[in-house]
């Protein structure tokens, strides 16, 4: 098993957001997480990635059989956890090229490898740019600075393609994408799918799941996974909304 979350509780500034999450993800699987606004989807993603502002008060997360809480944010990344941000952050003055080169080389160092020669790195960049069809001059611009909403999301997938994670959590990567971009992003994910890696896709729209077909769909509500099912659950949610689940839950 790649990821196993048991009875996870997490809070911020004393306010509990996650109230007992259970989730198991195996290699080769795609899980979709849906749920109303403000119920803790992004919080869950952040806690898996190790964001320090959240306090884990109870429960455990095992990743590749190891206690994830023992690893720092960067170590988790180097162990193959990738988070596609709902709101990608701007880093003025730092080009994507420079940013990704630093990231790739830190990851390589962790694996005992020498830094990638500049030529090879640029070649890899070109390849991955094609995959997500981003404009070639975008990588010379500062990370996310002045990017359109869609460009920011594509940039996340681009980074994922370069880092080739084992566990990718994509937090609303489909929000703000036009139909073409949605297809491109989904294509990117599908190309990267293997038997060894897994995806957790957080989304509000069943539309994305037509392209990235999930093995499981979970509904997160008030800090708990209140319902799990197969891809049909997403269609049902699209039609009926969340009210029936809320009622069931209450």
């Amino acid at each position: 098993m790649l990821l196993s979350i048991k009875n996870l509780h997490a809070s911020i500034n004393g306010k509990e957001i996650l109230k007992g999450i259970n989730l198991e993800v195996n290699e080769g699987e795609v899980h979709a997480i849906m749920g109303p606004n403000g119920t803790g989807k992004s919080t869950l993603a952040s806690v898996i990635a190790g964001r320090e502002v959240f306090d884990v008060t109870e429960g455990e997360i095992k990743y590749k059989g190891k206690n994830l809480f023992k690893l720092s944010v960067e170590e988790r990344s180097r162990e193959g956890i990738f988070l596609g941000f709902q709101y990608p952050v701007e880093i003025p003055g730092v080009s994507i090229t420079n940013f990704m080169r630093t990231a790739v080389n830190e990851q390589r160092k962790y694996r005992g490898l020498d830094p990638l020669p500049a030529g090879e790195f640029l070649k890899m960049m070109e390849e991955k740019k094609k995959l997500v069809e981003i404009q070639s001059n975008l990588t010379n611009r500062s990370v996310n600075e002045g990017f359109s909403g869609g460009e920011k999301k594509k940039n996340e997938i681009f980074q994922m393609a370069i880092l080739q994670p084992t566990l990718a959590i994509l937090d609303e990567t489909d929000s703000g994408l036009d139909i073409d971009a949605l297809r491109i992003v989904a294509n990117g994910v599908n190309t990267l799918r293997t038997k060894e890696n897994a995806f957790v896709v957080i989304t509000h729209y069943q539309r994305l799941l037509d392209y990235i077909v999930p093995d499981y769909v979970h509904v997160l509500f008030e800090g708990k996974i209140v319902k799990s099912g197969f891809k049909e659950l997403a269609i049902e949610l699209e039609e009926k909304g969340y009210d029936w689940i809320k009622k069931e839950f209450e």
Binding site: V73, I91, P92, G93, A103, S142
Partner: protein
């Protein structure tokens, strides 16, 4: 404060004769303290022409009437000017036989800076094999320059070999009456660089003090003079990006630049003198007067500085834009960490018509550091159609440090435009998390973000300087975020 200064001056003037002495001209070192005899001794030691001694003495007498300025946003103990040795023959450093004898902390820093082993040896005073002997490097270098008529030598050498040039230009941009530290420097300066680019010559290499090996130990009261004749161009790099553990507490340098018609001078500094330890003990007090005059029309002077060292920095590289259409630029990155304090900025004096100036200042404060930008833009009434653009950004790391901005703007005509922008920002937890999530550890992330923030200035540096400056920025902020 004032009475203290007076008291100090009293003691000082009284003591002058009480402790009068006849200095042994053969000795390599002057005794502690400052008086006219010491100045005569320095001048004699350097075998200076009469005009130079006269200049020093005038400066000294004027200095006696002055008070140390206290308008800067700096706190430091009273400097005892009688407790300083004003002349010591260039120190023969103890030659070490291998790198094993060098302070490991210093070696660590070298490694981080990516300085080669040979270079490391040289910088830390380990004997170096003949191949790397910098004298030979220096010779080939000097030949190239002299063919073009470029004079690049130590200030002392210039006084001996080109006294007429020194006499014509010295103190024309920074008179000894300019300020307390300029007066002090004028009285006691020991050495520095001299650079003369003849008419129409573009200096083909970056001139660097790196080649001025023998002046390495005379940094305390440095004096530099750069003259670019009509249509000349030179890019000059000051400083050495290795940590100089110079324990001289007080540094008071002067740099003067003269650009004649159509001439351009680029002056770049990377300063990383000892900043004191984590608790603010020790470190250099750096009081510098740097000024250039765009004397002829269409001339240009550009200052670029990356300041990461010194406990106290007091420094305002300035431009007097006298020639019509002349251009002044100031690009600065100033970093303070731990207990460092910097009060730095520029003065842009627009006198000629259609003159233009640009000021980009990036302050970075960490730890308990205090960083002030102080900038004056003055557009004279005759400087019609002039423009200034100033941008002063402050970046704070942590909540115990400080950033302050003191802009002074005076515009005396209606056709000129002055723009001033200022921002203060912090490295956000969001940005750090984003970097870390990609596998970049916190310190590297801070280095990356800070370098991005300073990019506008760093890109103005000559290539070889820029790479080292980037590393230096990251290193000087190490340990600044828990």
């Amino acid at each position: 404060m004032e009475s203290e200064t007076n008291k100090f001056l009293d003691e000082f003037t009284q003591s002058e004769y009480k402790y009068g002495f006849v200095t042994d001209i053969e000795s390599d070192m002057a005794p502690k303290g400052l008086n006219e005899d010491i100045i005569r001794f320095i001048s004699a030691k350097k075998n200076e022409p009469e005009f130079m001694l006269e200049f020093r003495l005038k400066a000294y007498r004027y200095w006696l009437t002055m008070k140390q300025p206290n308008w800067a946003h700096l706190k430091f103990p009273q400097i005892n000017f009688q407790d300083i040795i004003y002349y010591a023959a260039p120190k023969q450093k103890k030659t070490l036989t291998s790198l094993d004898e060098v302070d490991p902390e210093l070696l660590d820093t070298f490694k981080k800076l990516g300085i080669s082993l040979e270079e490391q040896k040289k910088l830390s005073g380990v004997a170096v094999d003949a191949v790397m002997d910098s004298v030979s490097v220096k010779t080939t270098f000097s030949e190239t320059l002299s063919k073009l008529g470029i004079i690049f030598c130590s200030f002392s050498e210039a006084v001996q070999k080109h006294p007429e040039l020194v006499r014509q230009y010295m103190a024309t941009v920074v008179p000894y009456t300019d300020n307390f530290f300029a007066a002090l420097n004028s009285a006691v300066f020991t050495d520095g660089s001299f650079c003369y680019i003849p008419k129409g010559v573009r200096c083909p290499v970056e001139l660097s003090t790196y080649f001025r090996i023998n002046a390495a130990n005379t940094g305390q009261f440095e004096r530099t003079l750069i003259i670019a004749e009509e249509g000349a161009y030179v890019s000059y790099m000051e400083g050495c990006t290795a940590p100089q553990r110079d324990e001289n507490q007080l540094h008071a340098a002067i740099v003067e630049i003269i650009a004649l018609k159509d001439a351009e001078v680029k002056y770049s500094t990377v300063q990383n003198w000892y900043p004191g330890n984590k608790n603010g003990v020790g470190g250099i007090f750096n009081f510098v007067t740097k000024r250039g005059i765009c004397k002829g029309s269409n001339s240009k002077i550009s200052w670029t500085q990356v300041e990461t060292g010194s406990a106290i920095t007091w420094k305002y590289p300035s431009c007097i834009l006298l020639g019509d259409n002349s251009v002044g630029e100031f690009y600065s990155v100033a970093v303070v960490n731990n207990y460092q304090q910097a009060d730095t900025g520029t003065k842009m004096q627009h006198l000629g018509r259609n003159t233009k100036s640009t000021v980009i200042s990036k302050g970075i404060s960490a730890g308990m550091g205090q960083n002030s930008y102080r900038g004056l833009v003055r557009i004279n009434k005759n400087a019609v159609n002039s423009r200034n653009y100033s941008q002063c950004d402050s970046l704070l790391l942590g909540d115990k440090c400080g950033a302050h901005t003191y802009p002074y703007i005076q515009v005396e005509n209606k056709s000129s435009i002055v723009e001033h922008e200022a921002t203060t920002s912090k490295i956000s937890e969001d940005q750090l998390f984003y970097c870390q999530q990609r596998g970049i550890d916190k310190e590297s992330a801070i280095g990356l973000i800070v370098n991005g923030y300073a990019k506008e200035v760093l890109k103005k540096l000559p290539m070889e300087f820029a790479v080292e400056a980037q590393k230096l920025l990251s290193i000087s902020l190490e340990g600044s975020v828990g």
